[in-house]
Amino acid sequence: MAKRETSAKESGTRNNATTELVMSEAPSELLRELVAHLRQNRTQLREEWVGRISETRLLTAMTKEEIFAEATSVYDSYVEALETETFEALQAYARNLSERIIPRGVETHEVVGIVLLLRDVLARSLFAKYQADFKKLNRILDAYEPAANRIANTVAVGFVQERERVIRQQQEAIRELSTPVLQVRERLLILPIIGVIDPQRARQLTEQLLRGIRTNRAKVVVIDITGVAAMDVTVANHLVQTVEASRLLGATVIVTGLSPEIAQTLVTIGVDLGKMNTVGDLQGGIEQAERLLGYKVMAVAEPRQ
């Protein structure tokens, strides 16, 4: 009782009891009040939000029902994040949501757009509720804004990261498609390597070749590097590793298309070229492989006159 009177004197004005209480409220209490308001008005705020989404023509790849279903989940996650002030659940939900909508063709600007729209719709409802009390409105916004911004950030970043993951996967798939391991004869595989080899691609090549050796029961592999753009020490090492790993699977490797420059690189890293099976060109390599496998290469006889 006495306390309230003192603070009234200090402020110099006769404020009503409600205002006094607000002054000494902790921000989390404000947040609680805010969350209660958002929960109470869930149905109409959500409807308003979905309306704004179709007005601005976002999420056109999804049906009305889908948008409504997702909007409900997003709204509830949003309010929960505000309430608990923790963002792990929201992060997980954002990743999950992204996983579902990215294949539908939803883009980053749409996701960022709808989250910002929700932020606006909720902010407006706060303006409407507390318009009579400017000081309280300010305090409520002080509590709301940082949390709302963090939420928008979390969802947007979660979406972008998921997109990046999908792109990485697609790149891996493309790399795999662009390097066929060819079975030319029984027990003989050919791996023509063309273009630039980065560490990712090199690793993938080795994996594919080793699996191919096992699947095809290859005894000889011809790796043709004529088309390799540039061979630095790292790539040369990958090549040596591939040859060694193939041997562990019982396959002999013949390397063809070795230019003098590449031969030099290999020698520089300590490869004993005498131990590595090298032949000038692919044709020669295949013939050598066939000999190793016990095929006889015969000239076609002249037809008798």
Binding site: E244, R247, L248, A251
Partner: protein, 120 residues
């Protein structure tokens, strides 16, 4: 851990299991040599299909097995190294240099038969 050693004519086949400890590998090395002597085998196939990891110790043990068996005048061939295991091994620089390798049991037998024909 018991590792089955089978006799196939003049050859022995040892099927290494997964999860072999260093002590297991040591026992195997000794046991295998004893069997080679006992049966006067001309060759040994070590099948490591079940080994999901091959580290430096396993690699060294295999090389030692091959070396000791060669001293008895017999041939060793390692078969069944999984593609992923082979890849990991070469990253560690474990190449089993000097030890014969083949894809699987069938190839390993063919190799030993070929090899013993040559030395007949």
């Amino acid at each position: 851990m018991e590792v089955p050693i089978l006799k196939q004519g003049e050859f022995l086949i040892a099927m290494f299991q997964a999860a072999l400890s260093d002590a297991d590998l040591e026992n195997l090395r000794r046991g295998l040599l004893q069997q080679v002597v006992k049966f006067r085998s001309r060759g040994v196939i070590v099948d490591v299909t079940a080994m999901d990891v091959m580290d430096s110790f396993a690699s060294r043990t295999l090389r030692e097995i091959a070396h000791m068996i060669r001293l008895r005048g017999a041939e060793t061939v390692i078969v069944g190294i999984q593609p992923e295991v082979a890849f990991a091994m070469v990253q560690l620089g474990l190449t089993l240099e000097g030890v014969s390798t083949a894809l699987d049991l069938e190839e390993g037998l063919a190799y030993l038969i070929e090899k013993s024909k040559m030395t007949d």
